[in-house]
Symmetry: C2
Subunit: 317 residues, 2 copies
DNA sequence: TTTGCTCATGGGCAATTACTCGTTAAACGG
DNA sequence: CCGTTTAACGAGTAATTGCCCATGAGCAAA
């Protein structure tokens, strides 16, 4: 073994040790014995092989791509939590996979023994996720709704998810006995001054984790479809640069809340602090791309659950 | 997380855990926390991902192919030690690489602090390996030659390697003061009865490790070239099914020693037990393929150092 | 030749991981 | 519906691995 101090020889040894360790599955002790070096040296060679990128690991499973996309998204937007689910090739439903994944994440939070406050927004996607929740007993937690549960016509809004959720998991729940949009900023002030509403507002601010849907704008967006906004108002919003909405809060394509008459009238609880809690958006699909992208850019949310295709769009791939 | 008992979901989890562990480099504790499972379960998932071949490791280094060939050879012939060196594309010399690798392996044994007995055969390949040995101080070991050092013309044989080796490593050495071939079986008995020879024979039987060259037969094989056998005798041997020789012991293509007049006259020490010691053959090249293959099949050697091309031949690739 | 620097080495120790065992829960078959 | 079988789980423990540090060899500049 004439000269082993040269770099090439050392890399050869590193490759050999790395191969024995990762491919052949030997222990570092065995490698050390086989190469007549100390175990510590074997360990150094293995870690050198890793550091020099000689060994490459890949995951042969559909989920692998998702995890990579998730990691890329997490880095790009500095997120606390990202989940990317495989895209349904048929791609018809907007809740395939994401609902299960969202439910799984909600369930992870619910499993915690220490009491937490979970805030939820509204929307079809979130509803689908909550519908996937298994029956549980979580009396230690509290669920608070960020949005009002009174529809534009006075009836209960369909996609207010808090009741389904509370039903499934047996937790104390705090709905917002309000409409989604008030008629004016003054009315909102009055309504928010009510004792019941005020405590809900305070609870919302304490949320440990928040799950929200992300709504796109335009005549087919949920705000219009569910009758909260007329088409004219919607067109005006879009002209003013609105890109999406979360719990009724409308933001532009940089994720900045618009300073306009709509946001002055939104009765929802302010979205909990992204500094102290996780705010996780559930959304996928080409139609919602702009809304998701803007929400991420503006740090309105610091977590996202989406699908492969949308994740790739968000990464500009 | 509706159903997690199904195999698909479990594999997904395994993939996720495997990805987090191997790609993201998280610890199993972190994975367990992230997936809301116990650390033991995380470990099970990671090991499941490995068992199910979900994670694949690849080594980007020329030596990887050699290591794979070595592992395959080791399994095919149940060998104790295999080393495969990259083939020299020019392929002219029969000692390129193999000499260095052989020297490295000899050196590994020499580095051992506990006293061992090293037996050596003869041949050009082995000589080249020994010439690569760095100066060492190994007074604790003993080297014994398996073959005589007297050539057919009464001079010292060229490729008896024990003197070069002893010179380089300063160890006690035990040459065989004999020819390679005796004139008859009776002469061999007489010679082996000498006190000096007898102790060498006994020492050879105790060898902890043996390094031998592998000779091909035919008019260009070492036995003929070095003048130990005439062409007529060689032709007779080949007709009788001889496929190769190690230390003068001639065997057929199944690695069985031939029961003929040549083996009765070979003065060499019997090849040490493959049950209790390592017998490592050094050889490469198309010409020696048959000899190597037969030696491996017949378990005459239980270790081999060769090159990529020869290894592929041996594996029938 | 001496001095100072760098780097590989091996010992020791703490962290991490793998395995075994007894228990529990779920699936299966009668 | 009940007993059997299988698989998964958690706890505990042994094995393995990662990392820090003191040491000494190799080497270049003084």
């Amino acid at each position: 073994m004439a000269k082993r101090s040269d770099t090439q020889g050392r890399l050869d040894d590193a490759a050999r040790a790395g191969w024995l360790y990762y491919v052949a599955g030997r222990t570092q002790d065995e490698i050390a014995a086989a190469m007549s070096i100390s175990r510590q040296s074997a360990q150094r060679l293995v870690s050198l092989a890793v550091a020099e990128r000689l060994i490459k690991v890949r995951l042969d499973h559909p989920i692998a791509a998702c995890l990579e996309l998730a990691e890329a998204l997490r880095k790009k937007y500095d997120l606390k939590h990202v989940e990317v689910v495989p895209s349904d090739p048929a791609g018809s439903s907007s809740t395939v996979g994401i609902a299960e994944a969202g439910a799984a994440e909600i369930e992870r939070w619910l499993k915690r023994p220490d009491p937490i406050v979970i805030a939820v927004g509204t929307g079809r996607t979130l509803k689908a996720a909550v519908d996937q929740l298994p029956p549980m007993e979580c009396p230690q937690h509290r669920i608070v709704s960020l949005t009002g549960n009174i529809g534009p016509d006075g009836s209960a809004a369909f996609y207010n998810v808090i009741f389904s959720m509370a039903d499934a998991i047996k937790a104390r729940h705090f709905p917002m006995p309000l409409p989604v949009l008030c008629s004016s900023a003054e009315e909102r002030e009055t309504l928010h001054d009510q004792a019941l509403v005020r405590s809900t507002l305070e609870l919302g601010a304490q949320a440990d984790v928040t799950f929200v849907g992300i709504g796109e704008l335009g005549p087919d967006g949920p705000l219009c479809v569910d009758g909260f906004l007329g088409k004219e108002e919607m067109q005006k919003l879009v002209r003013e640069g609105a890109a999406g909405e979360i719990c009724g809060w409308v933001y532009d394509n940089q994720g900045k809340l618009l300073a306009n008459s709509i946001n002055d009238r939104v009765a929802s609880v302010p979205i909990p602090s992204r500094e102290t809690s996780s705010v996780i958006g559930l959304a996928l699909g080409r139609k919602k791309f702009q809304a998701i992208s803007a929400a991420l850019k503006g740090n309105i949310i610091n977590g996202v659950i989406t699908d492969e295709a949308t994740a790739e769009q968000l990464l500009g791939r």
